[in-house]
């Protein structure tokens, strides 16, 4: 598969900001692939997108689109010469142009013939379900429809790369979920290489072919969404992607990707780690263990299993399908998610257990 975008050692610093906004980022996007940059605000994901778009230029490193270098240390091809499509958080739909005029703008710039423009605009508007709204002004359509105009405008020019900067964050929850699904199928049908920036982990999981988690201007983990979720490479990733139980301890034995962790006042826990992370494990050093609340089983009798603890149920919060318990064993408080049909009484003694495959061990950082 051909590489559509290659970022190499990209660095960008801003005035009045200590440290780099983006510090030495290397990344590739293949043809037809949807890459999602996920991270908290200020992690450098939007800066990365702007560097790709050419709205800003890197201090060092390079940006290569379709095999052509478009930016390097201190220079960059102007954004208009990169043949990109970009969807902005604010939609940026021009209020003085109709829906059709908004979508047609990029085609006019490419000197497409009038009849061809009309055909293409009609086709793309059908694709995003805006047929019949051609003559409306942005103020006369809803936020969700404006979002579709922005998307149509970006894809109608058949860009090398589609860039999306938190495009769904201004929509309400129901609409967001619906647009998420549509966006994904549209991108897959068109086979458009895309870079999607978001801070919403649910959005990232649904959309990504490949997920890149960023923190402090650097990539902390990349991979298939399910792999990143179930095998976080660091404590930050574990905490950022969903809720988890984090325990700190000392590595006692390491075998391949499996390791045992000795937790003070609790006992020995067994878990797994990402292969290249596990390679750096040395017995006697400190490490973290993460286990998701859903991976914990709660039972009245002691189960036969590797990781088992007896605790007392402290709180119970009904969340609908599931019920969240906090269970204390010694000093540690576990968060446990159990299906709501399983009833455990407050202040009861209960056994907590989880399989060692469900627990991830991560380096002490």
């Amino acid at each position: 598969m051909a590489t559509k975008l290659q970022l190499t050692d990209l660095v960008k610093r801003f005035e009045r900001q200590s440290g780099a906004a983006v510090g030495g980022l290397t990344l590739a996007v293949d043809e037809g692939e949807m890459l999602v940059l996920l991270g908290p605000s200020g992690c450098g994901k939007t800066t990365t997108l702007q560097l790709i778009a050419g709205l800003i230029h890197p201090d060092s490193g390079s940006v290569v689109i379709d095999g052509k270098a478009v930016a390097g240390p201190g220079w960059g091809v102007a954004p208009e010469k990169r043949n990109l499509g970009m969807v902005f958080q604010s939609y940026a739909v021009w209020p003085h142009k109709t829906v059709a005029q908004n979508v047609a703008y990029g085609l006019h710039l490419r000197h497409v013939a009038g009849a061809e423009i009309k055909r293409k605009v009609a086709r793309v508007l059908d694709m995003v379900k805006l047929g019949g709204l051609e003559a409306r002004y942005p103020s006369e359509i809803s936020g969700g429809q404006q979002q579709r105009v922005a998307l149509a405008r970006a894809i109608v020019v058949n860009p090398s790369l589609l860039l999306l900067d938190e495009p769904l964050s201004n929509l309400d929850a129901t609409l967001r979920e619906q647009m998420r699904t549509e966006l994904k199928s549209l991108q897959r049908d068109l086979g458009l290489a895309s870079v999607y920036v978001t801070h919403d982990q649910a959005e990232a999981m649904t959309l990504a072919d490949r997920l890149v988690v960023m923190h402090d201007g650097a990539i902390v983990q990349e991979g298939k969404p399910e792999d990143v979720f179930s095998r976080p490479a660091s404590r930050f990733v574990a905490g950022f992607l969903g809720t988890t139980n984090l325990l700190h301890g000392r590595l006692s034995t390491v075998r391949g990707t499996r390791a045992r962790l000795e937790i003070p006042n609790l006992g020995v826990l067994e878990g797994c780690a990402v292969a290249d992370v596990a390679a750096d494990f040395r017995p006697g050093t400190n490490a973290w263990l993460s286990v998701r609340p859903v991976a914990l089983a709660l039972s009245a009798a002691r189960p036969a299993c590797a990781n088992v603890f007896e605790g007392r149920v402290r709180t119970r919060t009904f969340l609908g399908d599931i019920t969240e318990y906090t269970v204390s064993t010694g000093e540690f408080c576990w968060r446990v998610h159990a299906i709501s049909s399983q009833r455990v009484a407050l202040d009861d003694t209960a056994w907590i257990s989880f399989s060692s495959d469900a627990a991830t061990i991560m380096p002490d950082r």
Binding site: E15, I56, D59, G74, H96, E140, A154
Partner: protein, 564 residues
């Protein structure tokens, strides 16, 4: 330098343009100011403070400074006394006819001070004034009851022309106040009047002080009323003395020595005012006054509105009605009769009066050119300030706003000093007038351009760039259409201000470059009242047409493009 370089790089091709614009603005604004300062300290034998010594040892100048200060203090009090309560009633109470009151007060702001003063001469001139004549006819007395040519008369006209400014200021303050603060007091059990006294008023305190400063400065630098009423009444103020120093033989150095202290005072006070209002967060835009509970006036609703309308009637309706009457009425026929309605005054000023038609042509020409150049310069500057983060941009921002503190008369002194000798001799041409109008109004054009630009989200421009539009194409296709309404608003403001500007024009005009405002003054000296009135009506009419026409256009097409 290294850190700034990144921002510059992306716009490096435009750098010469930016530097050029900054240089033009700097020359426009600073050169005349430099000449004021330089001439004030230049004696016959080089550097000296003799000019200042001369000015402040001459009794008539000292008296003028005293009069200016006295009138400024008194008129700022009377203006606040009228303006602030009306502003509160309009923005915060349930008084009837709030909209009408507001429109009438704002309309009176559109009438230039010298025109208002002339109307008052027509109304309350000691013997020939209409009010005095009516008084004599009714009472049989042999003299009138009011003489406009006096300190009291001057104060009356000052107040009538300055109180709308106090109104605007206080109105904005009351409107932008956070309604929730008043809600909170109400929920705790405070009544309407108590909320007004214990919450609203204290919150508005910085705005009140700021409004005092503004009205004081307006009085201090006022020229229209002192020229029309003060000079015949022998009540001289700083501005009329500066003007008198320009009569033959001109003594520019003395005028400069009188001007510079005035400039320093206005600068210091406006800086103080900015400190008061800026950053305090007190009266800045926080909430929506529309949500505020209006104070219920109860039985006082009607007395309040009657009082408001009386004030507006005396300060606006009466004088302007007098003006229009005078313009369309043949004065020499005794009885009031429809047969005496005539266009002869208009025929006179347009055909017979030698300066009439040329002055209108000159006014339209200078105002149009000044407004167009001001908007072009202001828009370019605003683009630079908004998009380029560098020291040049922040200096440019400062320079574009600087003329706000410069009294027009002081600036005109500087223009004469700067451009009456080489390398650019502009004195005696319309261009020096255009320079004055353009520079003095640059801040207004700049502010409307900046506001319009700020409302254009950065991503709207980025979207066009990523689709393949080069920077200039983005400006043309996206930015310009979106800011067009703001630019037109700026243009209208500069045009209207240029047309009504008297104090700068009074120093800059020559027999070949007379404009409407100076022509009116010329007719005033000749006591041609019909001519004065007709010419004033023409001035007001042109401005009214441009303002209402322009705003209608803005309202329908530009601010609201999707309702085409």
């Amino acid at each position: 330098m290294q850190r700034g370089a990144g921002r510059w790089r992306s716009v490096s091709t435009q750098t010469p343009v930016f530097a050029g614009v900054a240089l033009v603005v700097a020359v426009l604004v600073l050169l005349p100011l430099y000449h004021v300062a330089a001439s004030s300290v230049t004696g016959p034998h080089g550097l000296s403070l003799d000019n200042y010594a001369n000015v402040f040892r001459t009794p008539r100048f000292v008296a003028a400074v005293g009069n200016s200060l006295l009138l400024a203090v008194l008129s700022s009090f009377t203006s606040m006394l009228l303006g602030a309560p009306i502003a509160w009633l309009v923005s915060r109470s349930d008084m009837p006819l709030r909209r009408t009151t507001r429109v009438l007060v704002l309309a009176s702001f559109a009438v230039p001070a010298f025109v208002n003063a002339l109307s008052w001469v027509l109304l309350a001139g000691p013997n020939a004034g209409a009010l005095n004549k009516a008084w004599m006819a009714v009472t049989g007395s042999d003299h009138g009851f009011i003489d406009i040519f006096s300190m009291t008369g001057l104060l009356l006209v000052y107040t009538a022309t300055i109180y709308p400014l106090a109104f605007i200021f206080m109105h904005n303050a009351f409107e932008s106040m956070d309604a929730r603060m008043e809600h909170a007091a109400r929920l705790l059990g405070a009544g309407g009047a108590r909320v007004a006294l214990t919450i609203t008023l204290p919150l508005a305190r910085p705005a009140i002080l700021a409004a005092f400063i503004i009205t004081f400065l307006e009085g201090l630098t006022s020229y229209g009323a002192p020229a029309v009423i003060g000079v015949p009444a022998r009540v001289y103020v700083i501005t009329t003395q500066i003007w008198s120093l320009f009569q033959y033989p001109p003594q520019i150095a003395l005028a400069a020595a009188l001007s510079l202290p005035l400039l320093i005072v206005t600068t210091a006070l406006l800086a103080a005012q900015r400190l008061l209002l800026g950053r305090r967060g007190f009266t800045t835009i926080h909430g929506k006054a529309g949500l505020a509970p209006r104070t219920e006036l109860g039985a006082w609703r009607w007395p309040a509105v009657v009082l408001c309308l009386m004030i507006v009637f005396v300060t606006f309706v009466l004088p302007n009605a007098m003006l229009v009457f005078e313009a369309f009425y043949a004065r020499n026929y005794g009885a009031l009769s429809l047969r005496n309605v005539t266009l002869e005054h208009f025929r006179y000023v347009l055909v017979d009066y030698i300066d009439g038609a040329p002055s209108i042509r000159n006014s339209l020409f200078t105002a149009t050119i000044a407004a167009t150049l001001a908007v072009l310069l202001a828009f370019t500057s605003a683009v630079i300030v908004a998009h380029v983060k560098s020291r040049v941009a922040s200096i440019l921002n400062f320079l574009c706003l600087l003329p706000l503190v410069i009294p027009s008369m002081v600036f005109a002194v500087g223009l004469v000093a700067a451009y009456s000798r080489g390398p650019f001799v502009l004195y005696g041409t319309l261009w020096i007038m255009i320079l004055a109008f353009l520079t003095l109004n640059l801040p207004y054009a700049f502010m409307s351009s900046s506001t319009a630009l700020a409302s254009v989200h950065r991503e709207l421009e980025s979207a066009a760039r990523t689709l393949g539009a080069p920077l200039l194409r983005v400006l043309r296709d996206i930015t310009m259409p979106l800011v067009a309404g703001g630019l037109l608003t700026g243009w209208i403001v500069v045009f209207a201000n240029s047309l009504r500007e008297l104090s700068a024009a009074a120093l800059l005009f020559t027999s070949r470059t007379t404009v409407i405002a100076t022509a009116i003054m010329d007719l005033d000296y000749a006591s041609n009242w019909g001519g004065v009135a007709a010419m004033s009506v023409i001035l007001l009419a042109i401005n009214a047409i441009v303002i209402t026409g322009g705003y209608r256009f803005v309202g329908r097409n530009l601010l609201d493009p999707h309702r085409r």
